[in-house]
């Protein structure tokens, strides 16, 4: 059976259509003057926040061969061309055209943008990989699905205990070990004990901290405090650390860990994962008020000091069944 590729949940800026703005352009009638005109314009009228625009466009047609960007048209003002302080010889008739207001971030935005005006484009390799549908190897997809299957089993246990059917699994992807297994406890009395909050506290327990006391009946198991001070040999190296030496780093919160959760987390849990410095989140089913793609995108919210990657649709056919009647 082939597994579904997890779908990246990316920031809205990568998905938006191309935003346009008005600029004045002028024809250059004598092509031989173009180099001089461009040079003079770059001094007299720098492009400012329109650096992504190519200054000149060549137009195929009988009359006009080249057009050059002069300056941004002020919004709301009349579109009558003025000198605007520009004194350059050889500029022909002037008029307003719409051009992309911002540099394109994806190939798709680039293809849209160049229909208006030539722009430069620096493709983000990571983003290309994410959007390719081949970001993960077959083996990785299988591994993700296996972990999600474990989270699914936790959700089933939760359901059997008359709790909300949400399961959460925290994994150290370097050592490929499960750090915490949790399920939803909010209906056991405390409304904040969502599966993700429980999982985060279990990670704290694994590091010799933790706040909530869980008994065996509540939580399936608390995976071994492998990384406590008393086990110095078992400290792990964090992914993305300096590669040349095997630097041993004390675990700090959920840094470098992955979370597998059957349902898209709410805003409280998503922000708890920011505070906890989680590395990646994989979830199964989306929910309308969810905060990792549906209602908010907390993982890529501008202004926050930590961002993590999010992938959805993992084992979704199964997880959707958990939430069908809801």
């Amino acid at each position: 059976m082939t597994c579904n590729h997890p779908q990246p949940v990316i920031a809205d800026i990568y998905l938006q259509p191309v935003e346009l703005t008005d600029v004045f352009v002028a024809n250059i009638e004598d092509k031989k003057q173009a180099a001089r005109i461009i040079k003079e314009l770059s001094v007299q009228a720098p492009l400012g926040d329109l650096q992504h625009l190519k200054r000149v466009r060549s137009q195929t047609g009988k009359d006009v061969s080249l057009q050059v960007v002069l300056y941004k048209a002020k919004s709301g003002s009349c579109h009558c061309p003025s000198d605007n302080g520009i004194s350059v010889d050889g500029l022909g008739s002037r008029y307003v055209v719409k051009v992309p207001a911002k540099p394109p971030l994806t190939r798709h935005q680039y293809n849209q943008a160049v229909q208006y005006w030539p722009v430069s484009f620096h493709e983000n390799k990571e983003l290309v990989s994410l959007l390719s549908g081949k970001h993960f190897s077959e083996a990785e997809v299988q591994e993700i699905e296996n972990y999600m299957r474990q989270a699914f089993r936790l959700a089933e246990i939760s359901r059997d205990k008359k709790q909300l059917p949400v399961g959460a699994l925290v994994v150290n992807p370097v050592t490929k070990t499960v750090v915490a297994e949790a399920y939803d406890l909010r209906q056991a009395g405390y409304p904040l004990q969502h599966a993700v909050m429980v999982a985060i506290d279990l990670v704290a327990h694994s590091q010799g901290g933790g706040m909530w006391k869980f008994d065996g009946a509540q939580v399936l198991l608390l995976r071994t405090p492998l990384f406590s001070d008393s086990h110095p040999n078992l400290k792990h190296s964090l992914p993305g650390g300096s590669g040349d030496t095997k630097t041993k780093v004390e675990p700090y919160l959920c840094t470098g860990y992955d979370l597998y959760v059957t349902q898209e987390p709410c805003v409280m849990c998503s922000m708890a994962l920011v505070h906890s410095r989680i590395g990646r989140v994989f979830y199964g089913s989306s929910q309308r008020d969810g905060a990792l793609g549906s209602h908010y995108k907390i993982h890529c919210q501008p202004g926050l000091n930590h961002h993590y990657s999010v992938f959805k649709g993992c084992l979704q056919t199964q997880t959707d069944q958990l939430y069908q009647e809801r």
């Binding site: 990670v203 933790g210 919160l253 505070h275 209602h295």
Partner: protein
């Protein structure tokens, strides 16, 4: 000063005292009290470092104290939270705003804005977002700016790594607009709420 203001200041001073205790314990100095029928029934200071759990913010800890209070007094949690007010020295973060909605707390009074994590308008307005009410509970009302300067001074002291027990003359606390200092804090510093 009207009556409401003087009551706010009275309780906020209690929250500030708890923030100072957090500072002495080398936690991010945020303090919180929950007031019910003119009595404090829960208090909390940040305990992120002690518990190695980054979600142990002052509000969450105070909420848990209230639950214990309800259990001891035989009171219904929902009723008690539903007629309590939370005073916290710093604007609740996105996580705490989500938590406060779920326990149904109707009014939050805070000191300074939280430019990095604030969930009552600074980053997002989770407190007032009606669209998520069906899953996360009712919106809550917010009063801001109560004793903000004092809250900021405590945060500045913490992030500068100064000894809070040093005599006043040796402290280097420069005047900064309340709230502004939060924007200057270095990335990767411990989280506060």
């Amino acid at each position: 000063m009207n009556e409401a203001e003087s009551i706010f200041i009275k309780w906020m001073n209690q929250a500030l005292a708890i923030a100072e205790e957090a500072l002495k314990a080398q936690e991010v100095p945020v303090g919180c009290v929950i007031v019910y029928q003119e009595n404090i029934i829960g208090t909390g200071g940040n305990k992120v470092n002690k518990t190695k759990n980054a979600t142990r913010h002052a509000e969450v800890i105070a909420i848990e104290e209230v639950r214990e209070f309800c259990l001891a007094e035989g009171l219904d949690e929902k009723d008690v939270f539903g007629s309590s007010t939370l005073f916290v020295t710093v604007e609740p973060c996105l996580m705490c705003a989500g938590a406060l909605r779920q326990i149904g707390l109707p009014l939050v009074v805070y000191g300074c804005a939280n430019d990095r994590f604030g969930g009552c308008g600074s980053i997002l307005n989770v407190a007032r977002d009606k669209a998520i009410s069906s899953s996360i509970g009712p919106c809550f009302d917010v009063v801001s700016g109560v004793l903000a300067e004092q809250a900021v001074t405590l945060l500045k002291t913490f992030y500068k790594g100064e000894n809070p027990n040093a005599p006043d003359s040796k402290r280097k606390v420069k005047d900064t607009e309340p709230g502004r200092v939060l924007a200057l804090l270095a990335p990767g510093s411990p989280s506060y709420c």
